[in-house]
């Protein structure tokens, strides 16, 4: 077993926190891991990345070889494009949908997201909406970790001790809030994973789920989504630009 991850984002977005959570999960599972990060010059609002390799056997290189990555986990959607050459053909992209526009020539937002939906395997995560649903607006990175977890050799329970250690001092509500955000992220990741396995195209799965309020996403109902996506209203529903609604309402719109 090995999972090679490229974490990406923009300096200041906290990708090292994500890495640290995953490192500790690997440690608690007794797995081998190496995580190379960038400090210094590249941190001032520039593109940043980190390599995280997890395996059940010794890992040689701290850097992921090109074409062998299993996951790109990105807190910024444009940044994914910079690292695709690391991803193997079976690899998955987990990306936040929110753009970080600190450059003058940032491409059109819709084009950035659409390009990700052209990938064979991609999970788009509206991390801000998930964090807001858990009333933890600062916990967007936890939403990303949650969404990535179904594709990692971890359970949500692996993070709990660490989340507790991080937030305990600030009160139990914060601990529970972060765990809830992790869970909602996981629900999104797991639902997408099941649908992709069933052969539903990336574009359809993600377009549908981005229209569903995070607290109602339920992986146990992935089959219902698969069926609904064949419904007569599905195409129109996925085309329209609109707000989020509960899962039941979204399913009804497709049927």
């Amino acid at each position: 077993m090995k999972t090679d991850i490229i974490l990406s984002g923009v300096g200041g977005q906290g990708i090292l926190t994500i890495a640290f959570v995953l490192d500790n999960a690997a440690l608690s599972r007794g797995l081998h891991f190496k995580q190379a990060e960038v400090h210094g010059m590249s941190q001032r609002g520039g593109a940043v990345y980190s390599y995280l390799r997890i395996a059940d056997r010794p890992i040689w290189s701290d850097l992921v070889p090109e074409g062998q990555g299993d996951m790109i986990l990105s807190v910024e959607p444009l940044e994914v494009q910079r690292y695709l050459h690391y991803l193997s053909r079976e690899g998955v992209v987990i990306s936040n949908t929110a753009p970080h526009k600190n450059i003058p020539d940032y491409p059109e937002e819709a084009a950035v997201l659409s390009a990700l939906l052209d990938l064979p395997r991609c999970v788009l995560v509206d991390a801000a909406a998930i964090a807001a649903a858990g009333r933890q607006p600062k916990a967007q990175n936890m939403a990303m970790v949650g969404a990535a977890t179904p594709f990692l050799p971890f359970d949500l329970a692996d993070y709990e001790p660490f989340v507790r250690r991080l937030f305990e001092a600030k009160g139990e509500a914060l601990v529970q809030g972060n765990l809830a955000v992790l869970r909602m992220g996981w629900n999104v990741g797991r639902t997408v994973q099941q649908l992709l396995t069933q052969g539903v195209p990336t574009r359809q799965v993600n377009s549908f789920l981005l229209r569903v309020t995070p607290e109602t996403v339920d992986p146990d109902r992935a089959n219902e989504v698969a069926v609904a996506l064949h419904g007569p209203g599905a195409e129109a529903f996925l085309q329209e630009a609109g707000g989020k609604m509960p899962l039941d309402a979204a399913l009804a719109r497709c049927r």
Partner: protein, 529 residues
């Protein structure tokens, strides 16, 4: 013996030093070495370890040498170019030798992630005739640091621990060892050893050369220098430090050829010979300069043997290695990844933070220099070097710490006018004071702008040694005419008046200093200013 810990390579070095009983950590910040100092600093109070940033690497090294003189252990941390600054102390400390263990932990930056060059510190160890250890992973970083302190005392010499960015800034789990207490004070008594008058230095230098046979023997038998065999002898590999990781990665953990893995220097000659005898061709895979390769090849090469590496283009001469480059250079299969799905992916270079005082300072300096046409600002190293990029395009040089003032003076000597130097407060404390003193004594016709943001921002907002009124007094103490020291708080709201002040000082035909003082927003956010 503790539990496994998740540590950066830098942190592994730091904790090893703490566990090995150091009494002091010395250094000046510099990526990728900074976290070594900071990890010791975090426990220094509890452990009773002296931990204060020094003004520069030379000062840091000499302080450590003093601690060694007093019989106690210490480490000195710096980035590779920091060793250029500390080189005088370092080279001479090899001649004096040490008493308490002294380890120089120096972090090289192949690929120049955040540096001006990618010099290889192994040459310095070789030059000074002292041992060098080079870890390949975080566990080795921990163990070697402890061994280096022991070795330093055993041979009576400073020992270099060479790190590279990818190890310094990579995390893995490390199993720490048992702790040993700090050493008691035991001040060196022999008046001769550390007094390098020629008469004494000749004796000491001879002693240094006499130690070389022992150092070589230690390398030949070191557990860090390992020659492994393999079924195929058409080729063999000579690798250092983390290059070994990339080689293993390329072969999936099982290399069918003999491999000599180097982690301790001086270069083990017999081991190198054994490798060469066994194979038809040696491929040298090195992270850094072709140091081993040059030594193996010599000037005339080895008759009947092919030696390949960075010098013949088998591997790239510049930049850092990675598993893909190593595999491709060896003709091993390289996987193809996905292609971008978006047509144009714009770059995202680092920039000055929104609200950074340097931006306002540069805008004002630019405006003040406008009447003189072509703008030339000699600058230095720090966040403000990002003023090079558009839209500021405000600086025209960045060479080594302190060079802004000295280069500006040289240009002024040559008749250039107007000449402006821009330097950060920490860079000024590091290496700006002596060139300014030199200039003031000659009343050089130029203007020095000191960008005082109250912190060492570039490397993570460490404490700066010369800021606020202390800085003003230092400048005046150098003999500057007080009429030509102007302190401003750079701000768009007051730009007009401040541009006028800067312009007046540029016009003044002598040395003037503008201190542009406003706190770094990151330092404010972290509450460190």
């Amino acid at each position: 013996m503790g539990d496994r810990e998740v540590w950066l390579g830098d942190e592994a070095v730091a904790m090893a030093a703490v566990h090995a009983g150091i009494s002091g950590v010395y250094g000046y910040p510099g990526t990728p070495s900074t976290e070594i100092f900071e990890a010791v600093e975090a426990v220094a109070l509890r452990e009773g370890i002296h931990a204060h940033w020094s003004a520069n690497e030379k000062v840091a090294y000499e302080e450590a040498l003093g601690m060694s003189f007093a019989g106690r252990r210490s480490i000195v941390t710096m980035k590779h170019v920091g060793l250029n600054v500390a080189a005088d102390a370092f080279m001479n400390s090899a001649v004096t030798g040490v008493h308490g263990g002294l380890v120089l932990t120096v972090a090289d930056d192949p690929g120049m992630h955040s540096s001006q060059n990618e010099q290889d510190s192994r040459y310095y160890a070789h030059f000074a005739l002292v041992p060098c250890l080079e870890p390949a992973d975080q566990q080795q970083a921990y163990e070697m640091t402890r061994e280096a302190l022991d070795l330093s005392e055993a041979v009576g010499l400073p020992v270099v621990l060479r790190l590279v960015t990818r190890l310094a800034h990579s995390r893995a789990s490390v199993l720490p060892g048992p702790r040993v207490p700090q050493k008691p004070l035991d001040v060196w008594r022999d008046p001769m050893t550390f007094t390098l008058l020629p008469q004494n230095a000749r004796i000491q230098y001879r002693r240094l050369t006499e130690k070389q046979a022992d150092l070589l023997h230690r390398s030949e038998t070191s557990r860090w220098n390992v020659l492994s065999d393999g079924p195929r002898h058409d080729r063999g590999f000579l690798v250092n430090g983390i290059a070994w990781n990339y080689l293993m990665e390329a072969f999936g953990g099982e290399c069918p050829h003999p491999v000599l893995r180097i982690g301790q220097y001086p270069v083990p000659v017999d081991l190198m010979r054994s490798l060469v005898e066994r194979v038809e061709e040696v491929v040298v895979v090195e992270e850094g300069y072709p140091f081993l390769e040059e030594r193996l090849r010599g000037i005339v090469g080895i008759p009947g043997k092919a030696i390949r590496g960075k010098l013949d283009g088998t591997l790239p001469r510049t930049g850092e290695l990675n598993p893909t480059i190593v595999a491709a250079s060896l003709g091993l299969p390289v996987a193809q990844g996905l292609r971008p799905t978006l047509g144009e992916v714009p770059g995202r270079p680092p920039t000055l933070c929104p609200g950074c005082s340097h931006t306002d300072s540069f805008l004002e300096v630019r405006e003040a220099m406008k009447p003189y046409g072509d703008l030339r600002v000699f600058s230095d190293i720090g966040c403000y070097t990002l003023g090079f990029y558009s839209p500021l395009n405000a600086i025209h040089s960045c060479v080594d710490m302190g060079a802004s003032i000295s280069m500006a003076a040289g240009a002024a000597h040559a008749g250039a006018r107007p000449v402006v130097a821009a330097i950060g407060d920490s860079t000024f404390a590091h290496s700006g004071i002596t060139p300014l003193l030199t200039a003031i004594r000659q009343n050089v016709d130029f203007t020095v702008v000191i960008l005082d943001n109250g912190t060492v921002a570039m490397t993570g907002t460490q404490k700066t040694l010369a800021t606020g009124e202390d800085l003003d007094r230092i400048v005046l103490g150098l003999g500057l005419d007080p009429d030509h020291l102007k302190v401003i708080e750079p701000h768009k709201m007051r730009a007009e008046e401040q541009v006028a002040i800067i312009r007046r000082e540029i016009e003044y035909p002598g040395t003037s200093v503008i201190i542009a003082r406003r706190a770094c927003v990151q330092a404010l956010r972290r509450g460190v200013v």
